[in-house]
Symmetry: C2
């Protein structure tokens, strides 16, 4: 699945796409070369955070109407109630003149649970990115070009759409300053605004004489009677055979890092970090095997904040040694999820003068501000994030197994497609469903790791396309088919993209495919020194495209979790130079260059690759070298290649890759008795010359 | 000349190398593979700023003693006087407990004039980087691994050497906090500390209860009776045939940028920007054709701050239209250099509520703080910096001419070397002198653009080596010779590195040379989309080296001025991702990968290249493509190449490059009647197969 930095329109991400009929419109409306030339900046690592800004302001809105218009949500009464709440001293000591409703949850998750879709509830607009601001007179929604149409259809007249990226559109700060009476108070739920975002907004408002105030009770929740409950799915504990390291050892390693840096407390707020730390998984958020929790680790104590009902499960109790801790310093104190605030307050009240508290600088403003500034040590990546990124031998083994199973399912899927497409009965949706069905037959399958991008012809050029009934297209032998999909298995997470043609691809399609392949190989086969950051490899993926005047407008790779989130930090391969950490042996990232011809087709080739030591001829300054080993083992369609454009080295790479696919996946296909898929695999892995 | 980001020890930069016998020691002491593995971070663009920090702390100090020990400067009496000044209310209303003496001048120049060498004066230590702090009890000097030995030899017992990069070495802030009594005042000359550095130090001290205070009179100057005068060399005005754009038109363009951004005033403090703006040059700082000045441009006024004596020159008066301005808004008001502060105060006192003032965020704290915060708009690169970087047709023509003349001199130089080296009479210094002599014969020669790096054998591995009498080595047919040199001509600035062997290079030397050549070609021939930042090209220069486990520890390229500084912003090609601006057609940068085998040899291949439009097959989203055209036209020694390691494309590049050298430089050699050099050129440009 592509990283989230991309040009607009072509980038449709996240899980909440329901009703995005924007897709079909895009498809009808955009011929090749239509300029939609503004750029999205994801401020931190690809995919993790949602704060975005635009670089240029030229934008041609699709003008045709949706075939199936959405009806806007009626929000007059809701807004009236919200404005009443804004004046109600029950929530804040003085009336507030504006209230900000960001997207996102208290853990700054990429995907969110239904109970956290507050911006959607108040406005009707359910795109993945957007911030609402309600004042006494106005209600305004900032969103980007992907969602202009959708937002305008989903919101009623009470709302003004603020089209981000257009020159005339004011920033939230400027707009607030222009509409607010003097000395206004602007409220926000400090749990769902990140500390760094709070800081910027606070500064801007203060300099204009207003104040940004933290309203502890969420005012949307106050007017949302049937708000869904926070999910509290069953916890699953993972043994050493899956995790390689016990949670006790992880705690010990964390404390070693803390004492190395003279840190006395560490506050964990990211859900995947907490799941990784305790070797626990949940299913609170779709596609992400995480659960709502916080953790505060001291040098002798561990505080775990979670819905306590979840801990009645005897297996979980035993896993966490809740009833018989092995050592006092490994005894976990459990607290209700909500009490993290008061507990952190209590801890901070007892801090010694030299005590320091680690917290991620992207954590919620609420928790961050509990820690007095002199004791607070904000960090861009927590030690858990860094440790989680470097997979241990067991995790690597698990990821390899997961990818073999995934390849089995995909070989079977492609063999099925080859047979079924000519019948004209396969659609984008039925293909995606078939792929899921085949994956679900594999051992330890848990679910998908993100919504399948199953796209035919022009839909392939919509980078994060997700087929919907109203856009669903039939697969034919005349169009390129792109499928980007992945699954969660108990032993690992997969994410793979293949682009196929089931008839005869055009010379141009083959040419573009081959440039993309050259870029994919250039990254995958690159040898680079230890200490190299991923962003230095991004241009390798583009050189062949650039040479012909082509490019793609998303990053080249993202970190991948092990039975965790399919997007994770702190490493990646992107032309956006976010503060990525150097690649290390054991890290796992995706390698996924592409090319998108608007209105015609999309090409993307994605393998998940493992960073491994390399042994070149020399070893300059004893630094050591690294390279990548593909974990994904699914044939790359030879029919789409113009082999004349490949160098001998590249042909050798393709042949060696296919040899390995055949050997490793072939053996498993044989073991599983999937003969048809095996035949397909053997056909598709014939050496090229 | 390499950019300034590099590993330590190997990086010796700037002009003040006198007495750096460190070189010879390094050469004796460091065999291949000796670890000196910590990394220097130049915080902004390569070469412009000197604030550095270290990443790792392993460092093996050369332990042998210098052959020619330096005697330390006796500083007891000086320090006594300085401490007296620190208590003297004449300088600051209250006694100050510590005084910071940074390197650098009020314009944040890379090279500084003798009158600005204050840190050297107070301590004796004359390395290019270092910060001194004097308290009532202590005197401490922070410098990096390049200078540990030199600083310890040049400073007496009054000084404590603070070895930056070692774990146990405290930061300046931490050290100050540990030694100062409560509520201390720490003074600094606000003119020589940049606004961003002030901010960091201010924060750190404030959080510990101390205060950082600006002491307007420099306390070193107060105890430096024979301080050299600020240079005030003759100004040279450049006509349209050299500059392409009159200063009047540059002012008009600047004002257009200002009004576009609603800016009412612009304060220029960088010397090369002011020289460029007014089409004037000076010789106040060695190698840099600049002069001490400030400029404040309003929408209707131009204030020019310079030693007024310099304006008595009638040619300069006429050039600036001082006596008969063509239009009132182009009338230049002249002021003494020193009055910039009070004039800026006066301007700021009269600012309207919406007036905004542009100033570079790296400008001095003194001038920055004159501008009230609400009116101040700091920018990383000024509009002058950006405009100066994109050369116009006249400047490009001038740069081309300068490079042809430079190539003529170098062809003659290499032909001479070939003849003279076997006699055993050529040394690093005499070779450098010969190159300068030959350059000086060319039309419009002004001087060198930086100290010539003329290095034989192991000296070549010292990236910024400069030969000194005590290190001077003889050129032989047994060792690799690396010369990195350049000149200032009135029509342009050059900077070229060639690595040659005048006997038979070893297979390893040839192998490394060829990897460096492959990297050089990969950058030079790269095609990339408009809008690409230079740092995205850096890995192209390294890929061939990386594949064999090799690398070099400096950036790949820096911007080059046109008869201005040889290092200039805002673009460059570096693995350090500073905030560089995208490459644009008309920009000029260096392309200079290298390889350094400590104790044996150094290889670097540097051309100055011009960014030009490219026309590949496709034009994705109408963005357009760019590539480079070499301006440097000096043969690359074929003898050093292992042509078997080159691809056909690379061989074609070499042959085409040599064809052009022969055609263009050959014609000029012929015109100048330099037959021997012409013969050499023809021999050295035979096609390779």
């Amino acid at each position: 699945m592509p990283p989230q930095s991309s040009h607009l329109i072509l980038l449709i991400f996240n899980s909440d796409f329901s009703n995005s009929c924007l897709f079909s419109i895009l498809q009808q409306n955009k011929g090749p070369g239509v300029a939609c030339d503004f750029e999205l900046h994801v401020n931190s690592w690809v995919g993790c955070r949602q704060s975005v800004e635009f670089q240029s302001s030229e934008f041609n809105m699709p003008s045709e109407k949706s075939e199936k218009a959405m009806s806007p949500k009626i929000t007059g009464e809701l807004l009236r109630q919200l404005r009443q709440a804004m004046k109600n001293c029950k929530y804040f000591s003085e009336p507030i003149q504006a209230y900000i409703i960001p997207s996102g949850d208290a853990h700054q998750s990429e995907y969110i649970a239904p109970c956290d879709c507050r911006r959607e509830f108040i406005s009707g607009f359910d795109g993945s990115a957007g911030t609402a601001i309600v004042t006494e007179q106005h209600a305004a929604m900032w969103t980007d070009g992907r969602y202009f149409l959708q937002a305008s259809q989903q919101m009623d007249n009470n709302w003004t759409l603020m089209k981000m990226g257009l020159k005339e559109t004011p920033s939230q700060e400027d707009w607030l300053i222009s509409v607010l009476p003097e000395n206004s108070k602007v409220g926000v739920d400090p749990w769902i605004i990140a500390a760094d975002q709070w800081k910027n907004m606070f500064k801007a408002l203060s300099s204009a004489g207003h104040s940004l105030v933290a309203v502890q009770d969420n005012l949307i929740d106050a007017v949302w009677p049937d708000r869904p409950e926070r999910p509290s799915t069953q916890l699953r504990s993972l043994g050493l055979d899956y995790t390689g390291i016990s949670w006790q050892d992880k705690i010990t390693a964390l404390r070693a890092k803390m004492s190395e840096r003279k840190i006395t407390w560490f506050v964990a707020t990211a859900l995947d970090e907490i799941a990784w730390l305790f070797n626990l998984r949940g299913a609170d958020i779709e596609y992400n095997p995480v659960f709502f929790a916080y953790t505060i680790v001291g040098m002798n104590t561990i505080r775990f904040f979670v819905d306590l009902k979840r801990l009645s499960n005897p297996a979980v109790r035993e896993h966490l040694q809740l009833d018989s801790p092995s050592k006092p310093e490994l005894s976990i104190q459990t607290f209700p999820y909500e009490s993290v605030y008061t507990e952190l307050q209590a801890i901070c009240a007892a801090l010694g003068p030299k005590d320091k508290v680690w917290i991620c600088d992207k954590a919620s403003c609420a928790l961050t501000q509990v820690i007095p500034k002199t004791h607070r040590t904000p960090i861009p990546y927590t030690p858990l994030c860094l440790a989680k990124a470097v997979k241990n031998a067991t995790e690597i083994q698990g990821m390899k197994m997961a990818h073999i199973k995934d390849a089995v399912a995909l070989c079977e899927f492609f063999a099925w497609l080859e047979k079924e497409i000519p019948k004209g009965t396969v659609t984008e949706i039925s293909a995606a469903d078939k792929a899921e069905e085949l994956r679900s037959q594999q051992k330890d399958f848990v679910g998908l790791s993100f919504p399948t991008i199953s796209s035919v012809g022009p839909h392939g050029a919509i980078i994060h396309y997700r087929p919907l009934p109203e856009t669903n297209r039939t697969l034919t032998v005349n169009e390129v088919y792109l499928i980007d999909s992945g699954a969660q298995y108990v032993d690992g997470t997969t994410d793979v993209t293949r682009t196929m043609h089931f008839g005869t691809p055009s010379a141009f399609e083959k040419e573009c495919f081959t440039y993309v392949l050259k870029g994919h190989i250039a990254v995958s086969a690159a040898i680079f020194p230890n200490g190299t950051k991923g962003h230095l490899l991004d241009s390798f993926a583009r050189a062949a495209l650039w040479e012909s005047g082509l490019d793609y407008l998303h990053g080249t790779g993202h970190g991948v979790g092990c039975f965790l989130n399919v997007h994770e930090g702190p490493c990646g391969i992107s032309y956006k130079t976010f503060a990525d950490e150097p690649l290390e042996a054991g890290m796992i990232v995706s390698d996924e260059p592409g090319y998108y011809e608007d209105g015609s087709f999309g090409i993307r080739l994605e393998n998940v690759v493992l960073v491994v030591p390399a042994k070149p001829k020399y070893n300059y300054r004893n630094r050591g070298s690294l390279t990548f080993e593909p974990l994904t083992l699914v044939p790359i369609q030879v029919k789409m290649m113009n082999t004349e454009l490949l160098t001998q080295k590249e042909r050798d790479w393709v042949n060696e890759y296919h040899r390995k696919c055949r050997e490793v996946v072939g053996a498993e296909l044989e073991r599983q008795g999937r003969q048809e898929a095996l035949d397909w695999l053997i056909r598709e892995t014939q050496p090229i010359i």
